[in-house]
Symmetry: D2
Subunit: 379 residues, 4 copies
Amino acid sequence: MKPLNIGLIGYGFMGRAHSNAYRRVGHFFDLDHEPVLKAVCGRDKDQVGAFARQWGYESFETDWRKLVSRPDIELVDVACPNDMHKPIALAAAKAGKMILCEKPLAMNSLEGLQMTRAVEKAGVPNMVWYNYRRIPAVTLAHDLVAEGRLGRIFHYRAKFLQDWTISKDLPQGGAALWRLDAKVAGSGVTGDLLAHCIDTALWLNGGIDRVTAMTETFIKERKHNLTGKVQEVGIDDACAFLARFENGSLATFESTRYARGHKALYTFEINGEQASLCWDLHDLHRLQYFDHRDEGRLRGWRSIHVTDGDHPYMGKWWVPGLQIGYEHSFVHQVADFLDGLAKGKPTGPTFRDALQTQAVCDAVLRSARSSRWEPVRRY
Amino acid sequence: MKPLNIGLIGYGFMGRAHSNAYRRVGHFFDLDHEPVLKAVCGRDKDQVGAFARQWGYESFETDWRKLVSRPDIELVDVACPNDMHKPIALAAAKAGKMILCEKPLAMNSLEGLQMTRAVEKAGVPNMVWYNYRRIPAVTLAHDLVAEGRLGRIFHYRAKFLQDWTISKDLPQGGAALWRLDAKVAGSGVTGDLLAHCIDTALWLNGGIDRVTAMTETFIKERKHNLTGKVQEVGIDDACAFLARFENGSLATFESTRYARGHKALYTFEINGEQASLCWDLHDLHRLQYFDHRDEGRLRGWRSIHVTDGDHPYMGKWWVPGLQIGYEHSFVHQVADFLDGLAKGKPTGPTFRDALQTQAVCDAVLRSARSSRWEPVRRY
Amino acid sequence: MKPLNIGLIGYGFMGRAHSNAYRRVGHFFDLDHEPVLKAVCGRDKDQVGAFARQWGYESFETDWRKLVSRPDIELVDVACPNDMHKPIALAAAKAGKMILCEKPLAMNSLEGLQMTRAVEKAGVPNMVWYNYRRIPAVTLAHDLVAEGRLGRIFHYRAKFLQDWTISKDLPQGGAALWRLDAKVAGSGVTGDLLAHCIDTALWLNGGIDRVTAMTETFIKERKHNLTGKVQEVGIDDACAFLARFENGSLATFESTRYARGHKALYTFEINGEQASLCWDLHDLHRLQYFDHRDEGRLRGWRSIHVTDGDHPYMGKWWVPGLQIGYEHSFVHQVADFLDGLAKGKPTGPTFRDALQTQAVCDAVLRSARSSRWEPVRRY
Amino acid sequence: MKPLNIGLIGYGFMGRAHSNAYRRVGHFFDLDHEPVLKAVCGRDKDQVGAFARQWGYESFETDWRKLVSRPDIELVDVACPNDMHKPIALAAAKAGKMILCEKPLAMNSLEGLQMTRAVEKAGVPNMVWYNYRRIPAVTLAHDLVAEGRLGRIFHYRAKFLQDWTISKDLPQGGAALWRLDAKVAGSGVTGDLLAHCIDTALWLNGGIDRVTAMTETFIKERKHNLTGKVQEVGIDDACAFLARFENGSLATFESTRYARGHKALYTFEINGEQASLCWDLHDLHRLQYFDHRDEGRLRGWRSIHVTDGDHPYMGKWWVPGLQIGYEHSFVHQVADFLDGLAKGKPTGPTFRDALQTQAVCDAVLRSARSSRWEPVRRY
């Protein structure tokens, strides 16, 4: 096994999820490379040091430029807030490092395009952490669509519902709440949640042609954690849009952080001429599947418990009937990336794939402002 | 259409359910006979009169012997408490009337045997109101088992859970609460609820060979509505038993009125070598079905919404997707009875079928007393 | 009990549903009026005659003008295809009859406005058969919203999914398939299915301010049953729209007849600051309810089995735990109408209420053509 | 952090699950001790060597006696087949090692008693891997019962259903199939699956007083992997029993490997006077809870998504809404054990706790042979 030296930037929720994936992948997958936790970087010396100890990083840095320039780092993992993705990615590409970047790729398509060009020019392996593709039930859904099981596709619908920002006393900005700060996050639910929905949709159902959208900010002002002042909220609290796919199917997308009762309810459904399927992050180990070719009186939605040995990835884990969780999607993504590395093949979603998702996000936000249907730019 | 003159005895919950079925059957089923609501009988003149008016009975009686002897009555429907089933059935058989009897058939097998012999000797059409056989999803379950779809049967499990007698302040006896009075009801949940489970089980899975049971009376004393005194409670509040079917399968049965949160949760499940199915009265329009012959990675429990035109009985009602309810099972049973009448064939469950259910109930109660496995007598 | 003489026009699916409601309402509800099935009208003499016999109508007509002019008819029930609603309603109003009209009220708002003015001018009781308001779980949802249980409303989402027109071999037009014929139906899923969603939404969540929509006709040509020729399909097979309510909440609506696996999946969800609820026609006896005021670690979506005595309408039916079905919503609507009649009060949805639903439908179809946000006209 | 040197015996399914737990616990829990993977032991040198490399064990042994006697081993983890639990535990206790033992504790109560006496005499920390107690939803269930939320308990029901041995072509015995070999496993589903159900039941609902049981072996003969001959199958394929708890509640238990459609469906339900709850291993992150104290018309079963920060263990993992899986229960058990170690307190289930579960299993198997109610011996 060849070591692969990782340098992680950011030690929040995603820093933990990625570290966990690096730590675990070798116990379950047979790979040519073994991730080595070489360094982690964060601005707060005490906190990043504690993180390094907890996860077994060999060293830590407080300046990302230093980490990127370290010769012993082969792969830079960008797990910090959105506004830092571009400068880090550009520097890492220039330094010839492989790059794994948290989603959304960038603050907007323009940034995303620059980043994509940079990694492509540098010829470095690159990937974006749209992890939900690697939940086994979602991968199975993809396989079924790709095999043509569903026939002609008529409809796609997705939503991502949360309820954690309903309280008007919640402040914005700072370490834990940067997602509410437009300057750091770029957008609200569109880049945070809908980006996931869009990535999956493009992967399952092909390109989106045009969209019409609406956004809303329900709480107009919140105290800002960094300034201490009550400031206008710049992000979208909720966003919904209609879309036309290139294959002629129609879609509805919706996301909000004001759907009381839903913590992380990402769902999608796809209706084809012969079969339909739907999935739900709150019970992520199940895929609902309906096949019109079943005998008439016995047709019904099948609740497939995606934990069998012949289900994607599941042969690597426990025994049938025993479910895995959210975090395993990151392990699978690392396993696939390392497998691609061994074979010299890119592993999706690449920066270019994620750029296209960014283009849809941009069209959505543009439509919300223009109140018109907006075409999606193709990259 | 030939009229069929009905005389109903009892005007409680079941009197309403039966009247409703007679009133409706002709609007949805094409039959040779039309039920005519000739007379209803009850002891309270005012109440039975009001009932007759509400449901359109042509007349009413306060003495069941009089109703049974009326020459214009062709069919006697016994919908009164259990202790009156035998005398009425014997008299009606003697008078040459057809008899439909509420379940359980009798207070015990001995009574049931006398009643069965009486109707068989008289040669009158007879049927017992185990209505759940005619819920379309249950009928479909029966069809699938009968076709051999499930293969060899390994397991059967059924339960009927309620929670309406948990309060110790609830009295026993009298019009609304005769089911708590052992002298009138014969037994508690065994005859009231498990009898339903057993009827379905015998119909789906064949004979039961032997059982071991336990019963419990959680509230030992309750005020009696008729005497006004606190008296010992004679019925079983809960009953569970293990059983061996003649086909070699194993079973568990359970019933209680102390299962907080369940109003009328009758469920059954049957596991065969090739397929399994389960059903639940709280969502009675669905059948859960699992077929091992489905492609491996796509196996799952199918939730069949039993509302299509090719589902049992459903072609007579509305359009696919629109569910019917509890009461429709009675309409179906009347339709089948009238169909059998036209064809000169008995319609199950007959008195003899219901006698066998009674035999299982008797064995269960005997085992609860003896603390031993008890064989089920075959009739 | 005072008789109320009904004249029904149309004897299809809805003619049966209404007749069933008239026949049943008196057995379960205590009312001052008793519907009398005086006459039914249809163009095919044999078929309408058979219908009259099956449901016990005293007479039948083949010319609706004749029925409307009969002095013994007090209430005209319009249950024929959409293109005939206006002429019949205008004539019936002129004749001073009460009018119950199937939904959608009219082919478009203009027609609807004429009809509304006619009944208001004539001062006759009027109501439109948006029956889903009277499914007990939906009524309970309304009660909870009306009581303010949910707090400020953020989101509304509804969809009505079917799959019965996917086959391209299905013809359009004629008795059974007039819903596919734009000249008779006015529109496709918008008037047929979304109209239901909109009626409920307006009732629960108040007025809709503006919409942006898209429609699609997946199968462009179908054989026409009346002409025998392959003709362009003029209806919308699918329609989705975004909406802004007057109360500031955001909504998504969608309907299609191309959602494989769904027969009649009408669902709605409403998210409020304090609580959320959702409902589903495929399990119509349940209401899902989430209350943020529950103790934190015990919060969860409650699956309320709406069959208790203290649930809307349910005290009139059977016992807790035993579900009713689709058809009962019509019984409830008749009961409420007769109750309103006795009290001299209008019963919603009146023609005017339904006119507002029509106005939303019009704006939706207008937006689908203009590709712009369209305001909803207020009536 | 103090190192804690682990010596693992067995490298099958459970060897992986335990190793995974040791590897992960320190990343998520703040503890005084850090497990060090010192050595793993197995009979096949190549295989145990590969396992050691994959999981990072510092060394491996092929003779368990050698591992037990190594002075650098502080804790012996017994993860090999049942027939080896006793000799290893006795030797490890004698050597003064802490012992974690896979379930069931022993082949029978007699062995279990010897083992319990040995660890208690040696005064070494000991624990048995009944891991399901530490699934957060199960722990929450325990908390609710312990707080008295449910009131007086009336009913307990549990089942553990699988379907992996239905094929008669499946052989018995040897590495992967020792669970079918009575000489190695001791019993079939009783020790393998019901033991889990019993452990949870005793923990939640107190002691079991007496039982009546039945067992069945559906496939009487299977080829034996070690002898190559077709031999009688000695284990129970299925087992069901009725039980009386000391608190007066009634119970049904069932387990089988012949329930087509269920892979690992462990479910339990408990009905109390005030509230009920149920849980299901196939959706292990949810707890169903019904509380009679809720407002009448809004009562319903709550589906609690046990992923919030105030749910047991969940504050250590990701964010609300994101589920964990099966394996995490082992991580929690190690965390609790290490926490107990730091505090000098035993962590349940201890050997003595597990001995009581064994006593119930023994009574069950005894009853299946005697066809009588059998008392459970108290230890």
